[in-house]
Symmetry: C2
Subunit: 208 residues, 2 copies
């Protein structure tokens, strides 16, 4: 056989990215061979190279695509430009929700930083930093205005990010709690952790 009926470049490239997300998340980048990746897609190894230059290229593509989507989705989140309290709630809610839906991509983007070669690392790191910047800015503004009771915006940002990102390591859609319920637990915890009166935040929302 050669070219398959109905095959187009974009379809296969998408299938390769999807398979890579599953396999990299499951076994880790280094432990996934190009043969295993091809098997999972249902093509031969050599066909991979019609769509990606190298294995590294597959990883970089998956990570950059994910991070750009995260940033774009956050840009579109309602409430992100409100006062620090509401902005933080919006951030926590967005982050948990989005990350529960993309557990694998999140896991990869965090775990496989070390597998990136220098050039790719710089690109990915810049995207990651700009996301971290979002929550840090909210925290710093709230701290300056005396709304948040935190010691250090930077450390707090890292701690809160780790906390909410951690949901990807144990959440299972079939578990005891729904994604919705878990979202509420996390949002409440984030708000409490910075000393914001969360009930008030909800009341304001209802009143407003």
């Amino acid at each position: 056989m050669a070219r398959r009926v109905g095959s187009t470049g974009e379809k296969t490239a998408r299938a390769i990215r999807d398979a890579a997300i599953v396999l990299f998340a499951e076994r880790g980048y280094a432990a996934v061979s190009m043969r295993a990746l091809a098997d999972h897609v249902g093509i031969q190894v050599s066909a991979l190279y019609n769509h990606f230059e190298t294995k590294q290229d597959v990883l970089a593509t998956v990570m950059v695509e994910h991070l750009e989507e995260v940033l774009a989705s956050w840009e579109a989140m309602p409430g992100r430009n409100d006062d620090p309290e509401r902005a933080l709630e919006a951030f926590a809610r967005f982050h948990v929700r989005y990350h529960v839906d993309r557990q694998r991509e999140v896991f990869i983007s965090f775990m496989e930083l070390r597998s990136l070669e220098d050039d790719n690392f710089r690109v990915v790191e810049a995207l990651r930093k700009s996301y971290e910047h979002e929550i840090r800015d909210i925290l710093e503004t709230g701290r300056k205005r005396g709304i948040f009771d935190i010691k250090d915006a930077h450390v707090t940002a890292m701690a809160l990010l780790a906390m909410v990102t951690g949901v990807t390591t144990w959440f299972k859609p079939t578990g005891r709690l729904s994604a919705q319920e878990i979202e509420e637990v996390y949002v409440a915890m984030v708000m409490q952790a910075v000393g914001a009166d969360y009930q008030t935040a909800i009341d304001q929302k209802k009143a407003g």
Copy 2:
């Protein structure tokens, strides 16, 4: 050359474990070859097999040793059997302090779970669970007694663990804040996150 002057089994085994901790943390288990490991120790590949049966055996040994040490150290932590508030403070303090000192081991024990073969996984998972159990029990007791304002002890335990464990991903001894300062930030955040009045906890300590 053959057997080296001054070489004993325990010394070399220790050196191998130490090198493995550095390399596995840096590059990941799958990306570290037995040759790279041997190089780092300063011996030949074949010599590794005088001390460990397989590469997998090196990983399992490192992880089990680390987790057993964590549990043993926690057993010895003062305050761990006090009321939930003090116990949680003790836990947070212990965890951050210990993990800042063993960044690599923590990172490995978390990241490389998937690299463990079934038998080893079961052993390591049991150790991990029993550590998770410690904080969950503290939270559940505090929740029942109405001391902690949390929605769910299990989710809260996972969230707090992720938060404090996350310190290993960015902490650098040469950074802006000292380990001591970071410890304080994290402890305060943990206490606030569960709705405990942390100042009170400190006052009680001073008063008691």
